[in-house]
Symmetry: C2
Subunit: 317 residues, 2 copies
């Protein structure tokens, strides 16, 4: 297992800069008052392809050697990594094969195809996903870029908090959602080296709290097909992301489905930005744990904005 | 009739600066490609109280002489002016009386009350609104701040395009929604003085096209209670706004309800921002009139972001 380093993050940053946005940091006086903290929202919903995952995807794709280009790249993803890898591959002009759950939001499938990705559908479980993917990988010979358990991907995601600490001085804590742990691992990589006093909290849906249980148990616990509105956070930790979580995360906090949806509506209504349910989990956990965050300067990673506007969580099904 | 001048805009700008945001200008490579133009979105949805109207409201409220403070201010409004005047009055610590149609979105009523405004409801027609307002005004003795036909309000709205031309150089055109004409009048006031080569287009729902018909007829035509999803644009022109429209607007373009909702979804989906149906009318008219805008640098005023998330126009009723 190769553990990416600060140098890998720096290389990634040079490599991906031409293809991504330096996203803005927004604030809300209303949400500051509500939380008792000073909140700084790093808006990766405004990122290329609509999510932070384009950072890791671009680092992997633009780091490929020339002899690997013809067969292209392949991945399995609940959505945003698929979009992002398709975007990155499109910019480099190479094929991108994507295994996606058939239940993924239609908006995400459309967008993957819009960027030129080639989709193969699987059942909405980790086991089915891995089985179908093995077949696609064997048939195409494409280079596998795992959505999170990949040092190239983690080094790419790490560029996000490198920007954040340049944009906001004196942060006490950063809260990011945790699914497979790619964003959290990148955050740990950067902050443990460049701003080691900043506490790192992972925020997770209670309905998919495998990372929180892993953290408390001291070893990886993986659930098959958990059900949560935060559809980007259903996947389990893997060895590389577990390394970062175990060594650098202060705590993993959870929120219920109702708390997540309420936090999401609060952000839409008060900040006027469109973001995903997954991105609302940090605010939900902050509002739930005022004793941890009150009076602190807290960075929040808004991880993505690719929602299906025709199937918002508060609409009747 | 006093017609506000460039000096009035400059005074307004100094007066309101402490109470408002200098809102960002966003771009979208997707929407540039779709329109064939270079589009610059001035995001007043991120403004205090969620709309540009806080500019005019603050100019009126903070320009009041001390002897007028005790009785406060009063207005009638379909929503955003009510919010904005309540916000401004709250910042100055004076009462604010608001007459609102009973059919106004619940989110707007809640927000007016949240800012401390005192609501009296009327029927959703111009005639009822004016009748109920006359009673409130007589009973309270409050200073009337008209939502648009007021030189203080127009001078305040004029500060928006003063920022825009500092933020984006070399604009060929600016497109703003038109209801009563306050934003368009402020835009005319600033651009006719500071950037006279910039063409000014007003964008209006076809279902409430009284301004477009007025423009063609050469005199004000007012409709009572037109029906459109763009609920901020139902009110008619008045003498002061008609002055600016008649003298400085290049054309008034219209869009159907479907075109407005489609443009709104396109902006939400691609730019990840929450904005009102009214704010989508400019993009709808630009996409409909490519021969007018292709190859041009075009500013678009996103006028506000106060939508009822539980009653979005594409949800089933």
């Amino acid at each position: 297992m190769y553990i990416p380093t600060l140098d890998d993050m720096k290389t990634a940053r040079e490599r991906v800069t031409p293809y991504i946005h330096r996203t803005p940091v927004l604030t809300s006086s209303f949400l500051n008052e509500l939380s008792g903290a000073e909140l700084f929202f790093k808006c990766e919903n405004f990122q290329k392809a609509g999510a932070f995952k384009v950072r890791g995807a671009c680092n992997a794709v633009f780091g490929l050697s020339d002899d690997m280009l013809e067969k292209g790249v392949a991945t399995h993803s609940s959505g945003n990594h698929a979009l992002s890898l398709s975007y990155a591959a499109g910019r480099r002009g190479i094929p991108c094969h994507v295994v996606m759950p058939r239940t993924a939001p239609q908006a995400k499938k459309d967008a993957v195809r819009g960027y030129g990705g080639i989709i193969t559908e699987c059942e909405p479980s980790t086991s089915s996903r891995e089985e179908v993917f093995a077949r696609v990988e064997a048939e195409t010979g494409a280079e596998f870029v795992h959505p999170y358990n990949d040092p190239r991907v983690i080094a790419g995601q790490a560029t996000c908090s490198a920007e954040l600490i340049e944009q906001v001085e004196g942060l006490d804590a950063v809260v990011a959602p945790i699914g497979g742990g790619g964003m959290i691992s990148g955050t740990c990589l950067t902050l443990s080296n460049l701003a080691p006093s900043v506490r790192i909290y992972a925020a997770e849906p209670l309905n998919a709290d495998d990372a929180a249980r892993s953290f408390r148990a001291g070893h990886i616990i993986a659930d098959d097909a958990p059900d949560t509105v935060a559809d980007g956070l259903k996947v389990p930790l893997k060895d590389l992301t577990w390394h970062f979580v175990q060594n650098h995360v202060t705590d993993i906090l959870t929120a219920t489905e109702d708390e997540i949806v309420e936090a999401m509506k609060l952000i839409w209504k008060r900040m006027k930005i469109v973001m995903e349910p997954s991105s609302a989990v940090p605010l939900a956990t902050i509002l739930k744990n005022p004793e941890t965050f009150a009076g602190k300067k807290v960075g929040i990673i808004i991880t993505g904005g690719n929602v299906d506007l025709d199937a918002l969580p508060w609409m009747e099904k």
